[in-house]
């Protein structure tokens, strides 16, 4: 192994930042209230504009829905007219052996029925298209956005919340678009047509009816305001339930081993009770609205009838007009309940959309560049690239400084081990290089190109990071390895597994590489998962490989297989290895010792061991631990 001389010295502390940090908190700021309350800021108007942007591409279809409903209403309302025609004209004509009018009635009725049925059919299908397309769009947006958000966001915004955003919250939009759209358009159409009819029948009665809209409008407003708050509570409450539920199911082993069931029951009970209360309150608010609106409507009917009857009695209004007006009046207020149902689903959808909009409004702290650059062509034979940390400083947004300003150059092809105690900033260094975080100041350069200027595919051809948690996705083992390179052939996948020493155990699984990791026989130990993770990295074939405690669960032979692979397959690549085992360090060309965010020692392993610094101490401690 070649040892490279120290070509960088840890930067001197800039004045004023010298006294940072107990190393303890590794997460971004301790407790961010907004995250705790599941209440991300929603920009004003974002909810409405989200809904509009979802429906905008479907303007034509929404208009078609309105048209379909209009025609259907007309077909249905034609029924009474045909009855009247049949009795007034059909009967006398039939008695005169003129069957024409009667046949016309029969044919007309059949046509109207057919039209009503056909419109119903078309409406359901078009409405489903509108709602499904909007949902598809929304689900995709949430998913893509969540994926674009940085790792530190995910560390705070729990998976349970994201799930509730993309399930229950999307579900409430589905209700709004499914039933709500029909309600809204239907309500609107009948309100307008009946109001016009009433005004046409009698200006006075009609005006009175239209006047009754004022208290109804106020009721609707009040309901909207109060229910809005309640539905927001309900949506947060269910998200809390989901978080607890998911946490328990994902950690079922410790739950059972530490007899957490009763405690969890009690905790879940209280979260569930909060949701139950919010749920009940939302339903009661709806009850209040229904009572209020019914009351206004029925009082208006009584008032209008009283006034109308009075006028008939005093001879200023025809009896027929009153009869017709009364019949229409009943119909006028019929849609109020449906309006309530619409408002119901609208409120609950608005609350959910608000949360979704809040999520979508989060700007990724590690954004992808709009004008990506390409990495320069590799200069030499070796696949590795040079890494430069140029005046890099990293602090959390709240100001807790993790890495004071430093410079570091890692020549192409060098293997660098980073050691230091937990919280020394090793992982942060790795995450900066993998661009999980962006530096607060300074730049991280890959062959002279700022990581921020690289598009994701280019970046990942350059840098790949293997972490300690080797998560397996549902699917086969082969699919899991292929995450490293989706275009890889089966042969390449097997070769990668073989190189890392994972081939044997994979072949031993019930279906070999095609074993579903979530199914029968697919139980894979933590060490085996780490091997799969390595095979992934091998397949990805990056210029720079970062291993963040990636061998922690491997046994000695496993670790050695990995080291062999690094020597052969990954030879010539630039590598940054964060490891606890000094055995791993031994394969490095260079060792960086970190403490409190600073690189305090830098040199070849032999140099450092020979010295009197911290690494030499660590090494002695390790050797002593062997006895």
């Amino acid at each position: 192994m070649t040892s490279t001389t120290t070509d960088t010295v840890p930067a001197e502390d800039p004045p004023g930042t010298g006294t940072t940090t107990a190393p303890a908190p590794t997460g971004p700021e301790a407790a961010d209230d907004r995250f705790d309350r599941d209440d991300l800021p929603t920009p004003p108007g974002a909810t409405g504009s989200l809904l509009r942007s979802l429906l905008r591409p479907m303007k034509a279809r929404v208009a078609l829905i309105a048209l379909l409903l209009l025609v259907q209403q007309a077909a249905i309302q034609a029924g009474p007219l045909l009855v009247a025609y049949a009795i007034d004209s059909g009967v006398p004509a039939f008695r005169d052996a003129d069957y024409g009018p009667l046949i016309a009635v029969g044919v007309g009725y059949a046509l109207c029925s057919a039209a009503a049925g056909a419109m119903q059919f078309a409406f359901v299908r078009v409405a489903a298209l509108v709602s499904q397309d909007a949902l598809l769009d929304l689900r995709g947006r949430i998913f893509r956005h969540a994926q674009a958000l940085s790792v530190d966001f995910h560390e705070r915004y729990t998976s349970g919340r994201l799930i509730s955003r993309s399930t229950t919250d999307v579900e409430s939009l589905r209700e709004l678009l499914g039933e709500g759209l029909q309600e809204l358009i239907g309500v609107f159409l009948s309100f307008v047509s009946i109001a016009v009819m009433l005004l046409w029948l009698d200006l006075g009665l009609g005006s009175l009816a239209v006047l009754s809209f004022v208290p109804l409008y106020l009721l609707v407003r009040r309901f909207q305001r109060r229910a809005g708050a309640l539905y927001g509570e309900r949506s947060s409450a269910i998200a809390a339930v989901i978080v607890k539920f998911a946490e328990t199911m994902n950690g079922i082993r410790p739950v059972q081993a530490f007899r957490r069931e009763p405690v969890n029951d009690a905790h879940f009970e209280s979260l569930n009770a909060t949701h139950r209360w919010a749920n009940g309150s939302a339903m009661l608010e709806m009850a209040r609205y229904v009572v209020g609106s019914r009351l206004v409507a029925n009082a208006a009917v009584a008032g209008i009838v009283l006034w109308g009857a009075y006028r008939v009695a005093s001879g200023t209004l025809a009896l027929g007009v009153l009869a017709a007006a009364v019949l229409y009046l009943r119909r006028l207020y019929d849609p109020i309940d449906r309006l309530g149902m619409f408002l119901n689903s609208y409120q609950s959808a608005a609350a959910s959309l608000g949360k979704i909009a809040g999520l979508l409004a989060q700007t990724p702290s590690v954004p992808e560049t709009p004008s990506p650059k390409e990495l320069p062509a590799r200069t030499g034979e070796a696949p590795g690239r040079e890494v430069v940390f140029d005046g890099v400083r990293f602090a959390y947004r709240t100001g807790g400084e993790v890495l004071p300003r430093f410079d570091l150059t890692i020549p192409a092809g060098q293997t660098v081990a980073v050691v230091g105690s937990t919280g020394a900033g090793k992982s942060t260094l790795a995450k900066l290089l993998a661009r999980f975080y962006d530096p607060t100041d300074g730049r991280v350069l890959l062959d002279g190109t700022d990581l921020r200027d690289l598009a994701v595919p280019e970046l990942r051809r350059g840098v790949v990071m293997v972490t300690q948690e080797a998560f397996l996705f549902s699917g086969t083992v082969a699919e899991n390895i292929a995450i490293g390179d989706p275009d890889a052939t089966r042969e390449e996948i097997e070769r990668a597994a073989e190189a890392i020493g994972a081939h044997d155990f994979i072949s031993g699984l019930p279906d070999g590489y095609d074993t579903d990791v979530r199914k029968r026989g697919g139980r894979i130990s933590a060490g085996q998962r780490q091997l799969v993770g390595f095979a992934r990295a091998l397949l990805a074939n990056p210029a720079v490989l970062i291993l963040d405690e990636a061998t922690s669960s491997l046994d000695v032979p496993g670790e050695r297989a990995v080291q062999r692979a690094m020597d052969t397959v990954l030879h010539g690549r630039t590598a940054v290895v964060i490891a606890h085992r000094l055995s791993t360090v031994e394969i490095a060309d260079r060792v960086l010792v970190m403490e409190h965010g600073r690189i305090v020692e830098d040199g070849t392993p032999s140099e450092l061991i020979a010295g009197t610094g911290r690494f030499a101490g660590l090494h002695r401690a390790w050797r002593e631990s062997l006895t």
Binding site: S113, A246, V301, P510
Partner: protein, 637 residues
């Protein structure tokens, strides 16, 4: 995706929904009361037009102002009554139904917590979650609306038809004609729709799983820049769901159209026939008008049955999905277990495996068991290291002790008591575990640690944190009260592992199971933890899964697990000498069949005797050692 379902029983919609009864029973009075109120409200609704008719025919026609006032008063009172009844109905069911939903959810949660780990291995949590949320919400809505209105509207239709038949039975029969084809259509619809509804709900579950995985695996997705392909996979699933939903809509559109069309055609026929009858003088025009207005009034109740049925269908599917999980049996406690726990008296602590065999419940019949013929006696106070190649069954073996899985043959005894004869609660009190994957829960650091022991206090906490070298906890923003886990501060792997270790030792358990407890610790910390752990291990019986010599050093004896069997038991030195596989596992050096000379005196300090480094290097010569040398050296110690 998880096509492994617990036998999808073929139940009809009604049968499925009937299973909700135990949950509905506590609120049955409210629910039936609400249905009665709904019927009363619709009766009031029917009376209002009659009052209008009376007003028009009576006082108005008679120009009687007093009667007009009276009529308007009646109208107002009825209106208030109707509004009140509407409100009462909703008020009656609001909180109770929210309660039904909550109690079903609580039951599901309680049940799932007590299902065997094997069940959870099989079921993605997304599928469970979608049952606990979407499905249960659907059921609440079903109880609130479709159930009541199926009753109310069904009754209305029935009464309506009685009235129609009484008015003119021939015309009534004409109107009844579509009933038979409609019923057949509804049956066909039900079968088809239930299949599609089920598919849609399962696909929602799959989607939930993908969302969950994409969040849990976010570092891998980002690390490999795979978010586009992940988004693509997600898109495929959502598009599949969309296709299913559209198929649902197609079926729904068909049944709605039929339900609109057929009765309407019947009314048209009745109109023509009625007109002929009127013309022939067999029927009065007034009767025909009354007949037809009644028929038209029945339009809404009949039409509504279409979507009410669809909602019922979906609810039935949701019920099935709910009970599919609820029907999985919880692990039974052994009968007559009381007092079977080991004596409280002088603490001993002997753990014995007798002919233990284990195969996963879903393993292919006839396949090799994961563990077989495990005979192992761990003496009181002894620490046994469990060493074996990756995938040899070490973790599985440790899972048998706290009965996260049950041995399929043989038995495990603690101080002579079969663990299956102990209540799980008691067993898990005796046995404390630190898992390889250190999961912390959303709670304070202190709470997370104290989970390991009931009634342990501050001092115990401090001691446990000190043993695990987890004193960093005191320096967290809110000290040991700092929230961690899903909803709190995220800690590094090493920090989590140390807290998990503290949790395992806090209660001074009689039996301790440690699954590679030091894997994520840095060398320095590892040495400190080992030193402190020795004291704990001295007074407890322990199994320690070990990957490395340094961890093995904690143990008195070592058991080598090879392909599910105990290949050898002995001290580290004995095994190094006697077992090639063990030497290989400890040193990583290939082809060391006959483990070379091991120092005669184990306490001889630094005489590395590995094959590649024949001459013992002095401290300063150390850097020249290759990795193999170091490892081999490490192994011999």
């Amino acid at each position: 995706m998880p096509e492994k379902r617990v036998e999808p029983k073929d139940r009809s919609t009604v049968q499925s929904l009937m299973r909700l009864w135990p949950y509905v029973k506590p609120v049955r009075k409210r629910l039936f009361g609400a249905a009665l109120v709904a019927i009363a409200a619709s009766c009031v609704g029917l009376v209002i037009p009659l009052v209008l008719k009376w007003m028009v025919d009576g006082p108005v026609a008679d120009r009687d102002p007093g009667g007009v006032w009276l009529g308007a008063l009646y109208l107002l009172l009825l209106g208030i009554g109707e509004a009140a009844l509407f409100g009462v109905r909703r008020w009656m069911v609001a909180r109770p139904l929210a309660g039904v939903e909550a109690s079903m959810r609580a039951d599901l949660y309680r049940h799932l917590q007590r299902l065997p780990v094997a069940f959870h291995d099989r079921w993605p949590s997304g599928q469970l979650l979608s049952r606990a949320t979407t499905d249960l919400m659907l059921l609440r809505q079903f109880l609130a609306f479709p159930l009541t209105f199926l009753l109310v509207n069904g009754a209305t239709v029935l009464i309506g038809f009685v009235i129609l038949l009484m008015q003119q039975w021939t015309l009534g029969l004409v109107l009844l004609a579509p009933a038979a084809p409609l019923m057949i259509l509804c049956l066909v619809f039900e079968t088809k729709f239930s299949a599609v509804a089920r598919r849609a709900q399962d696909q929602v579950g799959d989607l939930t799983t993908v969302v969950e995985e994409s969040v849990l695996g976010i570092r891998i997705i980002k690390g490999f820049g795979r978010h586009r392909s992940q988004a693509l996979a997600f898109r495929t699933l959502t598009e599949r769901l969309r296709t299913t939903e559209l198929a649902k809509a197609r079926l729904l559109a068909g049944i709605w159209a039929s339900i609109t069309l057929l009765p309407e055609l019947a009314i048209g026929a009745a109109l023509v026939i009625g007109t002929v009858q009127v013309a022939d003088g067999d029927l009065s025009a007034g009767t025909l008008v009354a007949f037809l207005s009644t028929a038209l009034a029945l339009r809404w109740p009949i039409e509504s049955i279409g979507f009410l049925l669809a909602m019922s269908q979906e609810s039935a599917t949701a019920t099935q999905r709910f009970f599919e999980v609820m029907d999985v049996a919880e692990e039974a406690e052994a009968s007559g277990v009381a007092g079977q726990a080991p004596d409280e008296g002088p603490t001993r602590g002997e753990m014995v495996f007798e002919g233990v065999e284990f195969r996963y419940p879903d393993a292919e019949p006839g396949s090799e068991p994961v563990l077989a013929r495990i005979d192992l006696r761990i003496r009181p106070g002894e620490t046994m290291a469990l060493v074996g190649a990756t995938g040899s069954g070490k973790t599985t073996l440790t899972a048998l002790v706290p009965r996260l899985h049950d041995a399929t043959a043989g038995r495990i005894t603690l101080d002579g008591t079969d663990i299956t004869a102990m209540p799980r609660e008691r067993l898990r009190e005796l046995v404390s575990v630190a898992f390889e994957e250190p999961t912390l829960f959303s709670a304070g650091v202190g709470e997370n640690v104290l989970m390991g022991a009931e009634g342990a206090g501050e001092d115990e906490l401090r001691r446990a944190l000190a043993i695990a070298q987890a004193d960093f906890a005191h320096g967290l923003p809110q000290g040991v009260g700092t929230q961690v886990g899903e909803q709190g501060l995220s800690l590094s792997g090493g920090q989590r592992q140390r807290l998990a270790l503290a949790r395992a030792v806090v209660g001074r358990p009689r039996f301790l199971v440690l699954d590679d407890p030091l894997s994520a610790l840095d060398v320095h910390t590892e040495a400190l933890v080992e030193a402190a752990l020795r004291q704990v291990l001295a007074e407890t019986t322990a199994i320690v899964v070990a990957h490395r010599p340094s961890t093995v050093m904690l143990a008195d004896r070592v058991a080598l697990l090879s392909q599910g069997r105990i290949a050898a038991v002995g001290t580290h030195q004995e095994l190094l000498r006697g077992s090639a596989e063990y030497a290989w596992l400890m040193s990583g050096a290939e082809g060391v069949p006959e483990a070379p000379g091991v120092p005669e005196a184990p306490e001889a300090p630094e005489v590395p005797d590995a094959p590649d480094a024949p001459d013992a290097p002095a401290e300063d010569a150390f850097p020249d050692l290759s990795a193999e040398d170091l490892l081999a050296e490490k192994g011999t110690r």
